[in-house]
């Protein structure tokens, strides 16, 4: 299988702290890949560097065959790589539906000439987008909240909305930073079942940070383990459970 995402010796430090240290990973196209590691092991920083929120000190990132390191966030989005955040970064004072619509790709109404002189053009385009947004909201059980402000949602609903917003962007690949954090156990399985379903129906690739190892092992094809900024192991869930390094830094905590 082709690698949709590849990093080559990515390094990012904050002062003297090497948050991401020579990380080279590969994510297969159409796979669900997990990323685990104790707190502070550099998982979120790796996501930030890949998605352009932070600039890497050195190293290269390839997405879909093109180099994307050093590009600003909005161009990485254009390439088809969309992310969510560990703490949901919703537009709190905007409605759920507005949160969804803002993420859509290729909005004609974002051009000023259209805004001022051709409002019929964006209104027509938006009819279709609203239908699409509502369908996604329905799938995520957020349909009844569509006109509520995003800031009034519960923590779990915010997580779901953020995933919905990312789906609205027609991504090729999604980086999900703890999509199930703070969500009740029943909903966790539902979220991951949705992820598996989306992979099948849309052919999306998922790269997921998650702390619940059992969940991750159940739903992912491969898992990458980070510790102190470095990748210390990768493989299928069951092999990893027996890897002494992994047991030492991660499973050992249990």
């Amino acid at each position: 299988m082709a690698h949709i995402l590849k990093t080559d010796n990515l390094t990012k430090s904050f002062g003297g702290l090497l948050a991401v240290n020579n990380v080279s990973i590969k994510v297969d196209e159409g796979s669900i890949t997990g990323l685990i590691g104790p707190n502070g092991s550099g998982k979120t920083t790796l996501f930030n560097v890949i998605s352009g929120a932070l600039k890497a000190d050195s190293g290269k990132t390839y997405f879909d065959g093109k180099r994307i390191d050093g590009l600003p966030c909005h161009l990485i989005y254009k390439a088809g790589l969309v992310r969510t955040f560990q703490v949901p970064r919703l537009f709190q004072k905007m409605t759920v539906l507005d949160n969804m619509l803002i993420a859509a790709r290729g909005l004609v109404g974002e051009r000023l000439t259209v805004t001022f002189f051709q409002s019929w053009a964006w209104k027509r385009q938006e009819e279709g987008l609203i239908k699409k947004a509502l369908a996604i909201l329905e799938m995520l059980d957020l349909y009844h909240q569509r006109k509520n402000l995003a800031g009034n949602l519960s923590g779990g609903q915010m997580k779901l909305l953020e995933m919905g917003r990312a789906l609205m962007a027609d991504p090729k690949m999604l980086l999900l930073d703890e999509p199930a954090a703070g969500v009740s156990p029943l909903v966790v399985d539902k979220i991951f079942e949705k992820i598996v379903e989306l992979r099948q129906s849309l052919g999306l690739t998922f790269f997921i940070i998650e702390h619940r190892i059992e969940t991750l092992f159940n739903y992912t094809d491969r898992v990458i383990v980070m510790f102190k900024g470095q990748v210390i192991a990768e493989g299928k869930g069951k092999e990893l459970v027996e890897d002494p390094k992994v047991i030492d830094v991660y499973l050992g905590e249990y």
Partner: protein, 300 residues
């Protein structure tokens, strides 16, 4: 009571001028989250550009157009370095920018120096009686304000307006959703500076003389107070805020003549407006009117 109608007409003309300034600040701060404490700079640039051009004998519409273009370019120019700053630094920078422009104008004698520019040709023909002149001026500022309102209305009720609200709420998230946030912020800065420019150009020909010291930072803060009163991110509130502030200011100015106070009565206005702002900050920090929705989504 003589001339009360002129007093009221003059008041509404200023409500129009400051309503336009408030819309322009509301686009920047209310909708996009850009801290602009230097609104007066673009007001001043519009006023001076138009005044210089019309005193050279050009018709008013060329002066107005030049005021709009130069202010807008100045807005775009300052936005290039400034918009990369964090919001509080942007506030400091815009505040200082206004002062720099004012002090330059005060020291350049070919631009009028400390005495400013006098004898700016008015848009009203000479020979009209004063009340008619005021009515013509009021009609003109109403047209200008209506145009600015429509521009803002189109902007905020559109996908563009959704994105700028997104920048206000969370810039990183907006960028991660594929928006070139810098382009949006620069566009907003240019558009709202153009609005401040036309307000300045209009004010110059209405008063017929401008001096640098008319453009102290306090003018920017006045516009902030109007936006606070009317409501953040509400373009109707911009006019409501301007009306309330100016009405309150003038009422206090009249009231002081009838009151026996233990303080210097000239300070009454400042004390009362300060009190009003405090009351708002504590009781209704979002202002009187709620944020404008992007769309109603009828039937959804």
């Amino acid at each position: 009571m003589v001339n009360i109608e002129n007093f009221i007409l003059d008041m509404f003309i200023y409500v129009g001028i400051f309503g336009v300034l408030s819309i322009s600040l509301n686009l920047e701060y209310g909708f996009t989250g850009l801290w602009n404490f230097g609104k007066v700079a673009f007001y001043m640039i519009g006023a001076y550009t138009s005044a210089i051009i019309t005193t050279l004998g050009q018709p008013f519409y060329i002066g107005f157009a030049a005021g709009v273009v130069v202010s807008s370019l100045a807005g775009l120019l300052i936005s290039l370095p400034a918009l990369r700053l964090r919001e509080d630094y942007l506030g400091i920078l815009t505040l200082v920018f206004g002062e720099i422009i004012r002090i330059i104008l005060k020291n350049e004698y070919w631009l009028g120096g400390p005495l400013g520019i006098r004898g700016i040709p008015s848009i009203t023909p000479a020979g009209l009686d004063y009340t008619t002149t005021l009515l013509v001026q009021l009609a003109s500022i109403t047209v200008i304000a209506a145009v600015c309102y429509l521009v803002a209305y189109r902007l905020i009720h559109s996908p563009f307006g959704r994105v700028i609200r997104g920048i206000r709420e969370d810039e990183l998230a907006t960028a991660s959703l594929g928006k070139n946030t810098f382009r949006y912020k620069a566009s907003i800065f240019a558009i709202s500076s153009a609005m401040a420019g036309i307000a300045g150009a209009f004010m110059g020909q209405y008063v017929t003389s401008i001096t640098p010291d008319q453009f102290m930072p306090f003018v920017s803060f006045t516009v902030w107070m109007m936006v606070m009163l009317g409501g953040f991110a509400n373009i109707e509130g911009a006019f409501l805020g301007a009306f309330l502030y100016i009405g309150f200011e003038r009422a206090a100015r009249i009231a002081k003549d009838y009151l026996l106070l233990p303080i210097d009565p000239n300070n009454l206005m400042f004390i009362l407006t300060g009190l009003l702002i405090l009351i708002f900050v504590f009781l209704r920090p979002q202002g009187l009117l709620k944020e404008n929705k992007v769309r109603d989504y009828k039937g959804v």
